[in-house]
């Protein structure tokens, strides 16, 4: 499983990358593997505001639905609408298939580095 070094990770299996003051958020390789074939994703709208750990989206497989928690607080500036028609991209390339971009007003204090996250997953097993 792949966990790029330049990303930060949350305990609820989202990744976060800062790009010019804007957070890009997605699901980790571990998350997509656990979820199985993703068939649909419900995304928020631009301008929606969320706090740290708030549920900002949910993701559907054939027989399950899972919440996605926000690894930061702030307002949504962009939504990856491509995923609405091609949710399989999350399975195929989880670090390219970003979900939303967020202007961060509140940072989570417990995000992990790639190494820490890998250890965290091990400990969860």
């Amino acid at each position: 499983m792949n966990f790029p070094k330049e990303l930060k990770y949350s305990k609820t299996h989202e990744w976060l990358k800062m790009e010019d003051g804007v957070a890009v958020i997605g699901l980790t390789d571990f998350a997509q593997d656990e979820l199985g074939d993703i068939v649909f994703i419900n995304l928020p709208e631009e301008g929606d505001e969320f706090g740290v750990d708030d549920v900002f989206a949910d993701v559907e497989s054939v027989k399950a639905v899972s919440d996605i928690n926000s690894p930061a607080g702030g307002s949504i500036t962009a939504v990856n609408e491509e995923l609405l028609d091609a949710p399989e991209k999350i399975n195929e390339a989880p670090y390219e298939a970003w979900l939303v971009k967020m202007e961060v007003s509140e940072e989570a204090d417990d995000l992990m580095s790639a190494e820490e996250y890998e250890a965290f997953i091990e400990s969860e097993k």
Binding site: D37, V39, F40, E60, V62, K63, P87, E88
Partner: protein
């Protein structure tokens, strides 16, 4: 298999009507349809053949064993169908004057009386069209009761995590917040957790008893009194009433309101998903909130009356009358002795099947079950990789319907069996042998099971593609 749109062809049709005896009406052009709907063009002969072929690819109770847990797939007696085809019922307009539908009123009044005796409740509405619809209605009675008392702070409904998905969904439709309480090892309510969960924000509790593991909660009276003491009301999900009808009554267990599934417990057919009927019964103090109209008998004549503080209506008319009529035929047929006998035999059959399977599958909960039991393929999956889903698909090749799988959510690899009372010992023996055979095969040839069924009209369908890129209608129009 061809779609009906792919049969027939241009000009194929049948005439069922005489010529128009009146002058034609011409609507203004702006009201006229411009694009003709592309319905099938088929003759009656082609229709008969089409649906006969479709029927061959469907499986009903009359085709074989159907042990779908929580669904009570008992035999659908044919006398019910005979009753429901009488013109004296089928040709009655729902808005006829009461004096011209005394038989319809008598039907409701009679079945109401029997259902109240079976449930230990005081009043019934037949308006809800299905079980979930009944839950929604029953919860509205609870909501109306609290609102009428000015008790606006009751915003939460307690639901055990073993509950049917409709319970939390119905509560949400009433704007309630759902408090999920974990079940104890028997799938029942953990009294300590319940006591923690209730409070002055508790609107009510939703519970099915026996629970979804098929176990009767021995603390039921304490459970309902904990909720009552906190000022909440208790809702009984009647999905599992078949286990206890004529033996124990929700009204005596402390429940205030409940629904019944006439299409489960009272033998009306499921029709491939409906229609059902989900009458709601309640205690006296909730009567004033009942929806629709109730049948009232005065001086030997029936009339319909509305309740003063009614919540309104949940369907347009009085209910699924022809389903209610079937259920009435059933209760009349079974009667005083037959009702508890049905429950006893449902429980007997379930336990017989449980004992038959416990050597080959995990049966996590020891001791007698009620009308259904939950087995688990956990060990088999661990040892062979064959999952509950594979076993279920293997059963299709044995010409029986699989049980409910992956429910309740609290059991891994759950397989929930409910053979019902109308299954014979012989058919249960046959089913047990078949499942044993499948379990043995799991150890010898798991691959074959991963690809089961092998003798059905289709193999396993690709549900991922179906959900990712939904094709939900046939494109009738030709490509241009």
């Amino acid at each position: 298999m061809k779609l009906i749109f792919e049969r027939g062809g241009e000009g194929h049709r049948s005439d069922f009507l005489p010529k128009n005896a009146f002058p034609e009406v011409q609507f203004e052009e702006r009201f006229q349809r411009t694009e003709k709907p592309a319905l099938p063009e088929v003759n009656e002969v082609e229709i008969a053949q089409h649906y006969t072929q479709l029927a061959k690819q469907a499986f009903g109770v009359s085709n074989g064993m159907y042990p779908l847990g929580s669904c009570t797939m008992k035999y659908n007696p044919k006398v019910n169908e005979e009753a429901a085809s009488l013109k004296g019922f089928t040709e009655i307009h729902p808005l006829q004057p009461a004096e011209t539908m005394q038989g319809v009123a008598a039907m409701y009044a009679t079945l109401e009386k029997y259902l109240l005796e079976i449930t230990g409740m005081d009043h019934v509405t037949f308006q809800p069209a299905a079980g979930a619809h009944g839950e929604f209605t029953g919860l509205q009675l609870i909501q109306a009761y609290h609102r009428a008392r000015g008790d606006e702070k009751r915003t939460k409904i307690i639901v055990p995590d073993s509950a049917h998905g409709t319970n939390p969904a119905s509560a949400a439709m009433c704007g309630y917040q759902v408090v999920n309480v974990p079940s104890n090892e028997k799938g029942g309510i953990d009294l300590a957790l319940l006591k923690e969960a209730v409070g002055e924000d508790t609107a009510g509790l939703m519970l099915t008893n026996p629970n979804t593991l098929g176990i009767f909660d021995e603390n039921i009276e304490e459970i309902t009194s904990i909720v009552h003491e906190a000022g909440g009301l208790c809702y009984y999900d009647g999905a599992n009433l078949n286990a206890v009808m004529g033996i124990a009554r929700p009204g005596d267990m402390g429940f205030d309101v409940m629904h019944m599934n006439l299409h489960k417990t009272f033998s009306t057919p499921h029709g491939g998903g409906g229609p059902g009927s989900g009458p709601v019964a309640c205690k006296e103090f909730l009567q004033e909130f009942l929806p629709g109209r109730q049948v009232v008998c005065e001086e030997g004549k029936f009339r319909f009356a509305r309740q003063p503080k009614t919540i309104g209506s949940v369907t347009a008319f009085d209910g699924n009358a022809l389903v209610v009529l079937r259920a009435l035929a059933y209760v009349l047929t079974l009667g005083r002795e037959g009702i508890p006998q049905a429950a006893e035999n449902a429980v007997l059959n379930a336990n017989y099947m449980r004992v038959g399977l416990k050597d080959v599958m995990d049966v996590p909960y020891e001791g007698p079950c009620m009308h259904e039991f939950v087995a688990s393929a956990k060990t088999i999956k661990k040892e062979t990789g064959v999952a509950a889903l594979d076993i279920a698909k293997g059963m299709i090749d044995c010409e029986m319907h699989p049980p409910t799988i992956y429910f309740p959510l609290i059991v891994d690899e759950a397989m929930m069996f409910e053979p019902t009372e109308t299954e014979s010992k012989e058919s249960i023996d046959r089913a047990v042998e078949a499942i044993k055979g499948i379990c043995a095969k799991a150890y010898k040839d798991p691959e074959e099971l991963h690809h089961a069924p092998h003798h059905a009209p289709i193999g396993r369908p690709d549900e991922v593609t179906a959900a990712r890129h939904p094709v939900v209608r046939y494109e009738v129009k030709e490509e241009e």
